[in-house]
Symmetry: C5
């Protein structure tokens, strides 16, 4: 998974029926030092992430099934809100303190 920061929302009304009810957040990837990278993803959110929170983003393969089952065609999703990121020389991020240490 990648570490990302929630930075916006995306709204789409004309979409595939399987996309109905999916909350879409714009998340921007964070590098190893905690700085924002230019790379982003539009990820589905089922954990209730809010603006500026750090989240874990998992890329998901959309394997179409021959049975025609309706699986959501979402290739990135937020799997958790990050509490802390610890590296060898201390805390890189803590949600509680709401700021990065380095």
């Amino acid at each position: 998974m990648q570490i990302a920061k929630v930075c916006g929302t995306v709204v789409s009304t004309q979409k595939l029926p399987t996309m109905t009810g999916v909350k879409l957040l714009l998340v921007q990837f964070v590098d190893r030092e905690g700085e924002l990278l230019p790379r982003y993803e539009v990820a589905s959110d089922q954990v209730g992430a809010g603006l500026d929170e750090w989240v874990l983003v998992s890329r998901r393969a959309i394997a179409p099934h021959p049975e025609g089952a309706d699986v959501r065609p979402v290739d990135a999703m937020i799997v958790g809100i990050i509490d802390t990121v610890s590296v060898s020389n201390g805390l890189l991020y803590s949600k509680k303190d709401e700021y990065r240490y380095r």
Copy 2:
């Protein structure tokens, strides 16, 4: 998913039978500031996207099934037409106004 702008169409007549009836659009990726990137994809469209519209593109894994089921071997598809992209300091894009704010 990535945000992309529809910029063209691709036509192929000699193709795999499973590709029959797939509408193919050339979409160019958009960066975090709303500028066009050099990266593109040829994506299938089932939502009726038009030229210059901003769309959500999902990368799709084509898992071949041992049952030999005919799943479309398409690795990118348009899953929705974007209405708005909102970031912390306002609207980045609105389809209604048909122009980017920044």
Copy 3:
């Protein structure tokens, strides 16, 4: 999918049994302006693509199945030969005229 130009062939005799009978072409990716990129793939071909033709290449996920079914472990395949690529200001490529317009 990506747009690519067929630029060579690859032959392998000592290979996995599931790779038997797979025709392998070396395809080089084409950018948004129709220029060749350094990136390439060795893709399987079932549509009969020839040298210098523009093709659509789909990346394929090889999901191993627990039933042990023999699916070909090919992660890129040619899904169609391109006739035309049209962008907002005209034709980018036409197979018929056998040359790029821009």
Copy 4:
């Protein structure tokens, strides 16, 4: 798989139910000469890797199943702790000696 060095841990309490009990490590990729790259992944660990150890990281496709089965939505996992990496002109890494040779 990629070779990576364990460099930290990530804690998340508010997460998808399927992520419960997953130990998450921050691993930083290592290049062909054994130097750390800026690229990282947050990977699940089931082999008991420790800080500074070199591990093998496998990217995993999360194919959602129509049966709604609870598969962990983890797209990177540690599949083994590396003992040695040997290249043509000698050892690149040996866990026993706990240091890189070049």
Copy 5:
């Protein structure tokens, strides 16, 4: 698939049970002109590839199955040993002559 050159071996004893018996080779990718790229993969080998041989590497999606079946969590595998790579202006590589032509 990508063209790569076998350049080393990786040994791991403490690993996932599903990784038992997997032979792991360090392969370095080769560019369109036959030069080595910095990018590498640790790939499983079932075709008996040897040091310095050119091989075809396929990236594999590890789709976890809800049935809990033990599929090997390997995301790159050698699917064949390359005999020849031919491009429009001649041979790029031939295993027999054991050297590159250009």
